[in-house]
Symmetry: C2
Subunit: 361 residues, 2 copies
């Protein structure tokens, strides 16, 4: 999995600013930059950038791989709740290797693998100098694609399964967009916890292929949005208890239908709105069924833990343990070289493409 | 306030079943009964009933006054989440005086005032034998109308102000249907806690009269539903912090607008749905603003405390203290004799009638 890392590491002196034009070209840091908000295909440009000064607290990181997540696209479009100052480097997730550290840096050393500790780092680039506190060290035995896709989706899945309802073996969870990055992580983490998953996906060409793939990941039940609304769902609940937790990445009818299936006093957590429709709850569900409607945003959670990093590092350890035990794998990925970013961006925005696009540097 | 109680108490032998027709007529228990669900005007009948046996654990209660609440109407219509077995006696709230107790009854004695400890008691009647555990003793110095209207609306207001957000002096709360029984209690209880109230009401003939009445109760701000949607609301929030708690008895647009004004991480509690429209929340409010949507039902809360009555009695004590200090009054009431129940029922179902209809026995 770490193939190629040695090559990247041996690519020559790396701290030279782009302005000093006398050195050989290949080491020059490149980044996917946007100077204004707009459609990624229009506004993203692969540019040479100067590398920041290492100073005392800087960490020079050679990026290895970075995924394209829906929130990355929304940030570039300018429609997300968190926007970077412009010009900005795209990407919020990924894994890199430490090349050199400043004299005051104590938690990292050359050769360590690191992931962003927070959103907004700009991971779609070959190299950067980040400050130590923006990075989290990863154990050295995690596969590259798992490492590159660890800090957003599996963390979101883990927190949503842990923080809203006290779930244990035999309980069930329902989720829509079950084939998303978060959805796949939910299937696996819930599986490791002994929690049954009811997974809702949109009907599509080659539906059975996706059903088989999610089942292979450990999905207990996979149903389509259309089936969700049918009375036949009653049959399902002869086999599995009604869910105490619903995870909603869609909104609109899909969310309302999941709400209808929740147990009394259950919780629906919304973490996305793919249908671009609000969440609608019958008054009776709130009053008489006592369901709770909540939201979750990993970026905010990380901000809230800024002065208590133990919960974050503890969660990363737990997720790495699951990876080592083979209970949590990376989502289906397509690796694309950074220079071919336009292919990756285009593919990431197509409907019904389940594979995550990963830029490799 | 206790005028007439002595007269009622002196009305002759009360435990005699209706079947023994030899005794004088006035003592015969009468009740507003419905044998099928439907419009109250069609299905309610004032009937003579036999009084149950006192036995060891029975408490013979002479009802003094009982309000007509919207949920009473919905129960009769058959549209409420809690329905009594038919035939049933209407009414869930009210105050009565203990006339006689069974030999095993320890917590009550003749002369005590009692209120229902739970929903479904059937309070629209002159007399009944209830079991001891269905009743709560009230301190003897509470005005009749306060006592008759204590067990549902002020309790709902108190719990919603206490159980969802930790509020303190200087915080603010927004509520719609602010002139409802619960709404008036919210204004007063929040006022006693030093919490500012933003009170939303529907526009109506004689609006100023209602504004003045709510202001006299202690409402800090009274606005109409139309004003709620206007940008001028910004001016209001120069004077008062944005609310951490919204109390929703309406649903639809009104709820969505209140949600928009909530502070980050604030809670909206739904306890009614007068607009007969669901609660709709933008996905972004849930994810990025981290607002929480909850529901509250006093009946369920009481059920949940069935094995721990201390919280219920503690709350009643607290509310009685507020009544004694003049910080919590009964809602505006119109007292109607039980025999004229049709007038009271009709008035209770009219729009824009703010006075609560109270049946007096």
């Amino acid at each position: 999995m770490r193939l190629g890392v040695g090559l990247l590491r041996g690519a020559g002196p790396l701290l030279r600013p782009a302005a000093s034009a006398s050195a050989p070209a290949p080491a020059r840091p490149r980044a996917l930059v946007y100077e204004r908000h707009g459609e990624p295909a229009d506004v993203l440009q692969l540019k040479d950038l100067e590398l920041g000064e290492l100073g005392g607290s800087g960490v020079h990181v050679k990026m290895l791989a970075a995924p394209i997540n829906p929130s990355d696209i929304n940030m570039i479009q300018g429609t997300y709740a968190l926007l970077s100052d412009l010009p900005a480097v795209g990407g919020n997730e990924g894994v890199g290797e430490v090349i050199e550290v400043g004299s005051h840096v104590t938690s990292l050393k050359p050769g360590d693998w690191v992931i962003p500790g927070d959103a907004g780092l700009g991971t779609w680039r070959t190299d950067a100098v980040f400050t130590e506190e923006k990075l989290m060290k990863l154990p050295g035995d995690i596969p590259l694609l798992c490492a590159a896709t660890l800090s957003v989706n599996p963390c979101t899945a883990y927190r949503m399964l842990s923080d809203f309802e006290t779930l244990g073996p035999g309980d069930s969870v329902i989720q829509n967009a079950a084939n998303s990055g978060v959805g796949q992580a939910v299937i696996q983490i819930a599986g490791a916890m002994g929690i049954k998953t009811i997974n809702v996906i949109r009907d599509r060409p080659d539906l059975q292929k996706l059903v088989d793939r999610l089942t292979a990941l450990g999905a207990d039940y996979v149903i389509t949005e259309e089936m969700l609304r049918k009375p036949e769902m009653k049959e399902l609940f002869k086999k599995v208890p009604k869910p105490r937790l619903a995870l909603n990445c869609v909104g609109g009818k899909s969310a309302t239908e999941m709400l209808r299936l929740l147990q009394h006093k259950g919780t629906m957590v919304t973490y996305g709105g793919m249908a671009k429709q609000p969440v609608t709850a019958p008054v009776s569900a709130l009053i008489f069924k006592d369901v709770k409607l909540r939201g979750f945003w990993m970026t905010q959670w990380k901000k809230d833990q800024a002065h208590n990093k133990d919960r974050l590092t503890g969660m990363i350890q737990t997720l790495c343990d699951l990876i080592r035990k083979g209970q949590l794998s990376a989502p289906a990925c397509t690796e694309i070289p950074l220079k071919d970013y336009q292919i990756a961006i285009e593919a990431s925005m197509k409907p019904f493409i389940s594979a995550k696009q990963i830029l490799v540097m």
